[in-house]
């Protein structure tokens, strides 16, 4: 039988993240999602099973049974679920969902539609490989596909970051000048299915509710005039006004993501983090590749090789200036990734001068782990030849 929910006091995101009483719990990444959503004051959550995401949305379902969420159901497939979430957001409520890998691709057409419709949906992606051959294993390839959909993208290294990034995303996404979706990404299995120490809010508090009156576009509720938006629709017309309307709207979505940065920064503190910034060798990574890179840096240090770390926490908008500055003096840049395509290396290469400093980092996929010595080996082979 579900436990009855206590009365929750509404608090600001700032209070939730920095002041509310926390307790260290030894929980899985999926349980960290439940604990974040418990405090997020969600109106509607919609789920669909796919490994390794499923457990998170089971636990969110438990929250519904306990009364923390007003409405919850399992949709018929990911394309439909993302459309159902869109409908709910269009009607003016706070929503949450999660998916991964093949589910992300099944749903794909929805993500640019969410951004284009200015829907402040928060979604978690527990990244996984893409078929074929059939795989259910960890892989971040879907992130490369999502880079240009218009959604904002945060990448958590561990369960603690997943927990905090989820809680900070709602207020940022819902700002009048932002009002676009935010995806919080975490490496499936590595984070979702392992136990870690996570500092979790234990006060009986929840975020303030979504305020539909602050939306920059009217909700579909027949409560807000105008009821007719236009007399001559700009859709599907072959004239310059039509092209210009589409183009300016699309640019406005990109601008919204950039405006989000100033709302996000107080909570995220920084879009990148650095260790050993003066080292000539710099390892650049996001997600759990960061944790492996930290280990690699320690191993290298034991051998007398100085290497630094640039951890990227936000992929969209891409913190180009910060990355450029962080790598200004690097002689060699190694980018380890959990995918075949090397999308992070491409992203970094697109924003730094002399990008031949980037050497292909180790790329593991299909479910392989990335032992730190693999990173060490690449660093030594590719950077220290002839030394």
């Amino acid at each position: 039988m579900p436990v009855k929910k206590p009365e929750l006091k509404e608090v600001s995101t700032e209070y939730m993240l920095f002041e509310a009483k926390r307790e260290e719990q030894f929980i899985t990444g999926s349980e960290a999602v439940r604990e974040a959503i418990r405090r997020a004051n969600i109106d509607i959550a919609i789920s669909y099973p796919i490994t390794p995401q499923s457990e998170s949305m089971h636990l969110v379902g438990d929250l519904y049974a306990e009364g923390y969420i007003k409405e919850y159901f399992r949709g018929e497939n990911e394309f439909a679920v993302m459309s159902e979430v869109a409908g709910a957001a269009m009607a003016g409520v706070r929503t949450f969902t999660a998916t991964c890998g093949p589910g992300t691709l099944r749903a794909f057409e929805n993500f640019p539609m969410w951004a284009g419709s200015r829907l402040p949906i928060v979604i978690a992606f527990m990244t996984r490989g893409i078929n074929a051959p059939l795989t259910i294993q960890p892989d971040t390839i879907e992130m490369g596909f999502l880079l240009d959909t218009g959604i904002m993208m945060l990448h958590a290294e561990n369960a603690q970051e997943l927990y905090d990034m989820l809680l900070m995303s709602f207020e940022v996404a819902e700002q009048t000048t932002v009002h676009i979706p935010i995806g919080v990404f975490v490496d499936g299995f590595f984070v979702t299915h392992t136990r870690q120490k996570v500092k979790v809010v234990i006060e009986d508090v929840k975020l303030k509710p979504y305020n539909p009156a602050l939306a920059p576009v009217p909700h579909i509720d027949m409560e807000t005039p105008p009821f007719r938006y236009m007399k001559d629709p700009f859709v599907m017309k072959s004239n310059f006004i039509s092209y210009a309307a589409h183009a300016s709207w699309q640019q406005e979505i990109l601008a919204s993501a950039h405006r989000a940065k100033r709302h996000l920064k107080p909570y995220l503190k920084s879009f990148i983090e650095q260790e050993n910034p003066n080292a000539p060798i710099q390892i650049v990574a996001s997600g759990t590749a960061v944790a492996q890179s930290r280990e690699a840096i320690m191993l290298l240090k034991e051998e007398g090789i100085e290497a630094g770390l640039v951890k990227i926490k936000m992929l969209r908008p891409f913190p180009a200036d910060e990355i450029k500055a962080a790598l200004a003096n690097a002689k060699t840049i190694v980018i380890p990734e959990f995918n075949r395509t090397g999308w992070l290396a491409r992203e970094v290469a697109s924003v730094i001068p002399n990008n031949d400093r980037i050497i292909p980092g180790p790329r593991v996929f299909g479910g392989m782990t990335m032992p730190p010595d693999v990173i060490v080996q690449v660093v030594k082979e590719k950077t220290l030849v002839g030394v």
Binding site: D43, I44, I46, K70, E71, F73, G75, E76, N77, F79, A80, V81, S83, E84, V85, A86, G87, A88, A89, M90, A91, G92, V93, T95, E109, N110, M113, S117, P212, P218, H219, I220, D221, M222, E223, T224, P225, F227, R228, Y229, M230, K231, D232, P233, V235, M236
Partner: protein, 294 residues
Amino acid sequence: MSLAIANMNPHFEDVMPQEYLDLIKNGPFGKTKTVGDLGSFKELLEEHPLCAGCNLALAFRLLMASLPNPEDSIMVGSTGCNSLAFPQLALHNVHSLFGNQNAVASGLKRALKLRFPDKTKDVVVMAGDGATADIGLDMTLHSWFRGEKITTVMFDNELYANTGGQESGMSLPGAVLNMAPTGKKFQKVKVPDLAVVAGCAYVAVVSTAKPKQIGQCFKKAILVARNIGPTYIQIHTPCPTNMKLKPADGIKHAKERVKTDYQFREHMTPEAEAYLKTLEPAKAAKETAEEVTK
């Protein structure tokens, strides 16, 4: 909505377009209109851009003249010819993607119920046969399986009109169309039967050949969806442009077919039937009252 929202600040009157002023002064908000009233009030659809003789446009106007509560009706369209008309409709409406209309409507309906627990918000899906029976069939059916309290309308022109006359699942067997160069090889998808099996509380098959019937069935469908469960209306809306007919011959085609293979059908669950019966005395009383007023 509160009807006060539909009214305009008098200071804006000199800058607002004439058709908007007409809509406020003489539109259907807060009134009960029927197909028979067309021509005597300002319609919700303004100067649609669809082809001459378009039966979808005709059906669209008939439906919009029959909404029981236009001031609280939320429409969901889909990709197709209807998406050219929707932006000119004076009701909140959504076009999001091709085929996801019933999924969007499910989310909308549930969210509106949370936001406005004491109000009735009628959520109506209006989409073509391609959107409903082909690309969106899974979402159409699943919204019915889940018992979402929404009305689904299919404009059945028996082909993909907006993309240039391709075969759809609703095309007639043997029909030679784009992408069916040697004729369609299978029968029309039996969506009305599927609707019954999937749990729709009210199902009707109608035609533009019978305009008043469209209005009456649509009203019933909305009222049943509001109170009992999902409802489905399938309207035969021949497309003269893609059938290579003269504009006026589309309706002629509808009139022929309504006598043969596109006949009126109505299905309702015992619960829906009982509910609709409860409305009859009120309706009769209202009609009598209107007669007296006249």
